[in-house]
């Protein structure tokens, strides 16, 4: 063989194998002969020509072979794959029209599963993915958070830290700081509540928003405290409060009692770079002190708490930015030798940073639950398709016999299932419009303007359709493969015994369904039981009949002295109103999810080894607060009128703190100190209060210090009043406006509702899990019945034989029920195990209920066994009633 022929032989290996096996040697010989004939002269040109011919020939022939083109007959051109798809789609639609009930039931079933996942995805989309209008190139944005080593709290940046990072080589093109505030805005001498942000001058440039009118801040405008009183307002506020006045630029805005000049209006629909909260006014960092009503501007500036949003430099990424921030941070020493905690760089998400982790946990759990529901619906539909495929086995058998390839039939059946699922996806998205509307209309009992905007957009639609197509393929493939599997003669016979494989597939479907519904129902059961516990949970305080008023005298630009007087008058006078049981005040109200911490210094203990280990919760209260919330003292005394700003500072601690720092001793009379910006604040314990929940109703016990409000002094307090009727609360509200007409009116909020806020994730989870669980249960009951009834019908021949051979009716019944229950038990086992795993993920929503709560697990097992038993019993009874002669004659 010539070297060229050897090469040709090697190249042949790339071509069709069947051809090579059959004619490889002949082809090489022909090639050799061809070469000898054409290239006798040794001229390289003919040789090249031969090579180009045989290679083209091989390529064309291979392609024709792949396309299945017959080399013999000039039969009509084969359809292109695209044309085949269209034909499949037309065929699928025709099949759906022929069996409209099947189509409607299948599409509705799928829509339930798809809308469940799409609803959860919409929440994720609204809070994590979809940047609010006006935020541009959000993939380049990062947020930077300071972390505490104990991970107990969330820490903001001080102004020096921000300035240091912003001026360092940080791998970012822009780094902006922001902090939100609640303010009051006076228009035509009427005070309004407004949500605003204090931002660095480059904030708007950083997030990418454009001005709709006027301009944004100049860099020098955020440098000198109190000098540049300029403000940017939202388009929304411009229209709502100023009726779109075109001459708004340059006019005055009275914010928290200070006059600001409006220099710009943002582009329409910009609400800030965080989702859900409607931000209406922005002022530069230098106005921080004024907004907060500081008496000493530079001191206030030093204590500011800032969050950072930044834009990555071209070519940079989160990791590089993190390295740069770490380097910059290590070179930073905060005033008074405070340690650099470290800062984490995250890809930007529109959710408030502090809520991100909780939201991720919540969404993960909900995605699992919704995914399980989708699986159950898909299994139901797969089962329906399997039954239909069995009914169509003759049609399929005939087509196979007529020469249709199996691949072609599988593609066609898959097309049918994908179309069915896509229709379900579209319907599911429509349902999602409704469900997200319901979620968005959840009114939050807080005086902050919010817009929960979860409406599905193209992303949700794309998600729903992708999910639909994927499940359509995943759950359509097995029935399609089973339907077209070999055995022509069996299929063509009118009543073939079911292939064993199909039985096995059905068993897998039963197990999947039982497992999925067990998982769903256990999660729903746990959440429902824990929701029931919340109301009976011992919070350590009594919120019944308590109304809250969130006040902040800084919004009226009141000095600390004026504020003390205001709150003193309010509490004194309102306490004597008829219908007011008692009234008190606290700066950080419990069970609202918010908290405030201080670091404890103990005189006779070594300095703490790590930052954050001696952090305690801290709240300033009026002397009447503990009594109002019915938190009893277990030792010592209450605050008294003798404790004033001029006497030594005294505190009441909770039992947990007392037992942590002075185990086995009385804490009353003990002394400790708070770390502070200047000198430590010395404190003496005068009383020990019973433990009560602090952050959330399911919160763990935490050390807590109550400070006397006159000894610490603040201007933002939540006044709590235990009243006989809501109308009394309205009297208090009116009285607030009477004492200080400049203060925006404070709407009374029932304290229980305020607590509901921290229960909101659990509440939503409970609603979703209950709805999903109920849908799942119904689908499983129907699905199990369908699966078992069908497999019994398929076994009628076998049953007939058994009975002809003398099997008793009851033994046939118990055989069928036994078979069904065996599968149910396997599914239950898998489902309950999975539920135990998922329970860990939702533990934080269970408020002390064990994720392995035996009551829930056992009752769900019993419930499912009962339903499965019924679903088996009905077909079993029918099977046992079969006349064996009929069953056998049907063959």
């Amino acid at each position: 063989m010539s070297p060229a022929a050897r090469w040709y032989e090697r190249i042949l290996r790339l071509g069709p194998r069947s051809l090579r096996r059959d004619f490889g040697d002949d082809m090489v010989a022909a090639f050799d002969a061809m070469l000898a004939d054409e290239c006798a002269s040794g001229n390289p040109l003919p040789r090249l020509r031969v090579w180009s011919r045989v290679l083209t020939d091989l390529l064309v022939s291979s392609l024709n072979s792949i396309r299945g083109q017959s080399p013999v007959y000039r039969i009509p051109r084969k359809r292109t794959p695209m044309e085949s798809r269209f034909q499949d789609i037309r065929f699928a639609l025709r099949t759906m029209r022929r069996q409209p009930l099947f189509a409607v039931v299948a599409i509705a079933t799928i829509a339930i599963g798809i809308s469940a996942t799409a609803t959860i995805f919409s929440i994720a989309n609204g809070l994590l993915l979809r940047a609010p209008t006006g935020v541009r190139e959000s993939s380049e944005l990062v947020s930077i958070h300071r972390v505490a080593q104990d991970e107990t709290g969330f820490h903001s940046f001080g102004l020096p830290a921000f300035r240091h990072l912003a001026s360092a080589d940080n791998g970012l093109t822009n780094m902006a700081a922001y902090d939100s505030f609640g303010g009051s805005l006076v228009i035509d001498s009427t005070p309004y509540r407004v949500a605003g942000s204090i931002v660095s001058a480059n904030y708007f440039e950083t997030v990418g928003v454009r001005a709709g009118l006027g301009r944004f801040f100049y860099p020098e405008e955020d440098t000198v405290p109190g000098r540049d009183l300029v403000a940017v307002i939202s388009d929304r506020m411009w229209h709502e409060r100023y009726r779109g006045d075109p001459d708004i630029i340059g006019s005055e805005l009275v914010l928290n009692g200070r006059g600001f000049v409006i220099i710009g209006v943002t582009e329409p629909e910009f609400i800030g770079h965080l989702a859900a909260f409607l931000n209406d006014v922005w002022v530069p960092l230098s106005a921080q002190g004024l907004i907060r009503g500081a008496t000493n501007l530079s001191e206030e500036e030093a204590s500011v708490g800032l969050e950072i949003v930044a834009r990555l430099a071209p070519g940079s990424n989160v990791e590089l930015a993190q390295d740069a921030i770490d380097r910059a941070g290590s070179a930073f020493h905060e005033p008074r030798d405070e340690k650099w905690f470290g800062a984490d760089v995250y890809a930007y998400a529109p959710i408030v940073p502090i809520a991100r982790q909780g939201l991720n946990l919540f969404l993960a759990a909900m995605f699992v639950v919704a995914g399980v529901l989708l699986t159950i619906t898909a299994v139901n539909v797969a089962n329906m398709m399997l039954s239909r495929a069995a009914a169509r086995s003759r049609e399929i058998g005939v087509r196979l016999a007529l020469g249709a390839t199996r691949g072609r039939l599988v593609t066609q059946l898959l097309t049918e299932s994908v179309i069915l699922f896509l229709c379900g996806g579209v319907l599911g998205t429509l349902i999602t419009v409704w469900t997200t509307g319901l979620l968005g209309s959840l009114a939050l009992p807080i005086p902050i303007p919010m817009d929960l905007h979860f409406a599905p957009d193209f992303r949700v639609l794309a998600f729903a359709l992708t999910m639909a197509a994927t499940t359509g393929i995943a759950f359509g493939l097995s029935p399609a493969l089973h339907a077209t599997r070999g055995d022509l003669t069996g299929a063509l016979k009118e009543n073939g015994t079911p292939p064993r494989r199909r039985q096995r597939l059905r068993s897998v479907l039963v197990v999947t369904q039982v497992a999925g519904s067990a998982l769903l129902l256990v999660v729903a059961g746990l959440l429902i039981r824990s929701a029931g516990r919340v109301t009976s949970l011992d919070l350590g305080l009594d919120t019944n009949d308590v109304h809250a008023f969130m006040l902040d005298t800084r919004e009226a630009n009141r000095s600390p002295d004026e504020s003390r007087q205001f709150y003193g008058t309010l509490l004194n006078d309102a306490a004597s109103f008829s219908g007011v049981d008692s009234i008190g005040a606290i700066d950080v109200p419990p069970l609202t999810g918010s908290n405030q911490q201080s670091t404890v210094i103990l005189p006779d203990m070594p300095p703490e080894p790590e930052v954050g280990l001696r952090k305690v919760e801290f709240a300033q209260v009026s002397p009447s607060y503990l009594a109002t919330m019915r938190i009893p003292l277990v030792a010592g005394r209450q605050f008294s009128d003798a404790d004033t700003a001029d006497t030594p500072k005294v505190v009441i601690v909770n039992e947990h703190l007392a037992n942590t720092f002075w185990p086995g001793e009385s804490a009353v009379g003990k002394r400790f100190a708070f770390r502070a910006a200047n000198d430590p604040i010395d404190l003496e314990i005068v009383g020990v209060a019973r433990d009560s929940k602090i952050r959330t109703p399911g919160d763990q016990a935490r050390p807590l210090v109550y400070g006397h409000w006159e000894q610490f002094g603040g201007r933002g307090y939540t006044v709590v009043a235990r009243v006989e009727s809501p109308s009394v609360a309205l009297m208090i509200r009116d009285y607030v406006s009477e004492i200080d007409p400049v203060l925006p009116p404070a709407q009374p909020i029932e304290y229980a509702e305020l607590v509901g806020l921290s229960l909101l994730p659990a509440k939503i989870a409970t609603i979703l899990a209950t709805v999903f669980g109920a849908a799942g249960l119904l689908l499983v009951a129907l699905g199990l019945y369908g699966l078992l009834a069908y497999s019994v019908a398929q076994r009628s021949h076998e049953i007939g034989v058994r009975m002809a051979l003398g099997a008793h009716q009851s033994s046939v019944r118990s055989m069928i029920v036994g078979d069904g229950l065996r599968l149910t038990v396997v599914g239950l086992g898998i489902g309950l195990l999975a539920a135990a795993g998922l329970g860990q993920l939702i533990r934080w929503m269970l408020f002390g209920l064990s994720p392995f709560d035996p009551v829930t697990f056992i009752s769900i097992a019993v419930l499912l066994l009962t339903i499965a038993g019924l679903a088996c019993w009905l077909p079993a009874r029918r099977a046992a009633a079969t006349n064996p002669v009929n069953a056998l004659r049907a063959e």
Partner: protein, 102 residues
């Protein structure tokens, strides 16, 4: 009447009707008869021969040289060739009637 054949298949049938020959012989004959306008290569040839053999149009007889199988026309092949020739003759008649041909 049987299905219309591809031109190459008809050519091969015509060649084998005149003489039995091996693959390379067919290839050379086809290339000469088509005036070397399109050159038949080994892959197309053997793929076609394989199919023709599978459908019973030609018979394959091994010779002493294993790589030189000789092909002969089968009865079925002869019938198909005749059908195809008649189809073509009919078309040629039409062309004459329409004065496309002299």
């Amino acid at each position: 009447m049987s299905q219309p054949l591809r031109p190459l298949v008809f050519q091969i049938l015509l060649i084998l009707n005149e003489e039995e020959t091996h693959g390379y012989g067919i290839m050379k004959a086809v290339n000469e008869r088509t005036g070397r306008k399109t050159i038949l290569g080994p892959a197309t040839l053997y793929r076609t021969l394989g199919q023709m053999r599978d459908q019973g149009l030609i018979d394959e007889t091994p010779t002493d040289d294993e790589r030189r199988r000789v092909y002969t026309l089968s009865e079925e092949g002869r019938r198909m060739a005749r059908d195809e020739a008649e189809r073509m003759a009919m078309l040629v008649e039409r062309a004459r009637a329409g004065r496309l041909l002299g």
